[in-house]
């Protein structure tokens, strides 16, 4: 009956989870900001080779991408087994690179035309014959700045 009742047992008070949503939201915002949604769906296999003498690619508005590789298994029936190149979201022939570059140039800021870099994302199994043809096309179009896009890693393994 005393005014100062002894607390029953040594119960540890429950940890408040009220700030849990805040923490989770913080993580959520981080990932939302860091996410770059893939803007092109790849129809080809594209595992890039490794290299360690790499430089970062410039801003995205100065880069155009050319992909190359074997078609994905589900497209093999339609497009065959051989390595193909992909421009935007379709499989194309080497001769289509011309129109692709013209279209890319037209869609960019005119002052960026000189600094436009072509990023070659080529599967490591592709033969150099195809890559050579791509390079030849690029030379014809005077798109001389290229970047062999790779993943970071040692070449000797």
């Amino acid at each position: 009956m005393s005014k100062f009742k002894k607390k029953k047992g040594g119960d540890v008070p429950a940890i408040s989870t009220a700030s849990l949503p805040d923490i989770v939201f913080m993580l959520l915002f981080f990932f939302m900001v860091a996410t770059v949604l893939k803007d092109n769906d790849l129809l080809i296999q594209n595992s890039l080779p490794k290299a360690d003498q790499v430089t970062k690619l410039e801003k995205k508005d100065r880069v155009m991408f050319i992909f190359a590789g074997k078609p994905h298994e589900k497209y093999r029936k339609k497009y065959g087994e051989g390595a193909k190149i992909q421009l935007n979201d379709r499989l194309s022939e080497v001769s289509d690179i011309k129109t692709f570059i013209l279209a890319e140039r037209a869609s960019r800021n005119p002052e960026l035309e000189k600094v436009l870099t072509t990023s070659l994302k080529v599967d490591k199994e592709v033969k150099m014959g195809l890559v050579g043809e791509i390079k030849q096309e690029l030379r014809k179009m005077d798109a001389l700045k290229i970047n062999y896009t790779t993943t970071k890693g040692s070449v000797v393994d």
Binding site: T35, V36, K56, M128, L144, N147
Partner: protein, 204 residues
């Protein structure tokens, strides 16, 4: 009136907020692909309007690297492993055979390159060579140039060439500093110019 005052509007239960946030979080975690946009920068040679005879180059100033269809390396007519290529290229570029290159630390072998300005690396590949092998060779050759440039830059300005380049490219670097760095980079680039010639792939 009095009654209304007494019952405050019921509080919305925020207990499920965490669940919703987790759901979104997991969605973004799964869909995130960290972009791998880095690689080896190269410049293609412009197309010559008509066949111009290339200037004569002495055989000893050319370092030939051949990659065959089985991804084997033939360097200066000898079979070589990829891991030895970097050192071989460094030795060739750094040779300084004619004695005009004061900053070279090579063997000064008269049978190898005269000076880094004349030394040319010629890379030739077969059309059946795999892209992976090609990139590996490119990587090693670029690494050889970087090694020498770094060494020279360190000796002259106490900073590696890569750091200077990164500082120059960085948009946060101030204009005044950038102007200061630019001649350094230009100088190192003329000391060890990247002369990497690529023949068109052989057809067979």
């Amino acid at each position: 009136m009095a009654r209304k005052h007494r019952d405050a509007p019921p509080e919305v239960n925020a207990g499920s907020m965490a669940d919703i946030a987790f759901l979104l979080l997991i969605f973004f975690l799964v869909t995130t692909t960290i972009q791998t946009d880095q690689g080896i920068n190269r410049k293609l040679p412009p197309i010559q309007p008509d066949q111009i005879d290339p200037p004569p180059v002495k055989e000893k100033n050319i370092f030939t690297v051949l990659v065959n269809k089985n991804d084997q390396l033939l360097v200066e007519d000898k079979l070589m492993d990829l891991k030895d290529l970097r050192q071989a290229a460094i030795d060739f570029l750094d040779n300084g055979g004619d004695g005009s290159c004061a900053y070279c630390k090579g063997e000064r072998n008269p049978a190898s390159s005269d000076n880094p300005d004349k030394a040319i690396i010629s890379l030739q590949n077969d059309s059946e060579t795999s892209y992976k092998a090609y990139i590996s060779v490119q990587n090693e050759l670029v690494a050889a140039y970087y090694f020498l440039r770094d060494r020279e830059c360190q000796a002259r300005y106490g900073k590696s060439f890569r750091d200077l380049e990164a500082m120059f490219e960085d948009p946060k670097t101030k204009e005044a500093q950038r102007n200061k760095i630019e001649p350094f980079i230009k100088e190192i680039q003329t000391l060890f110019p990247q002369k990497l010639s690529e023949a068109e792939p052989k057809r067979n």
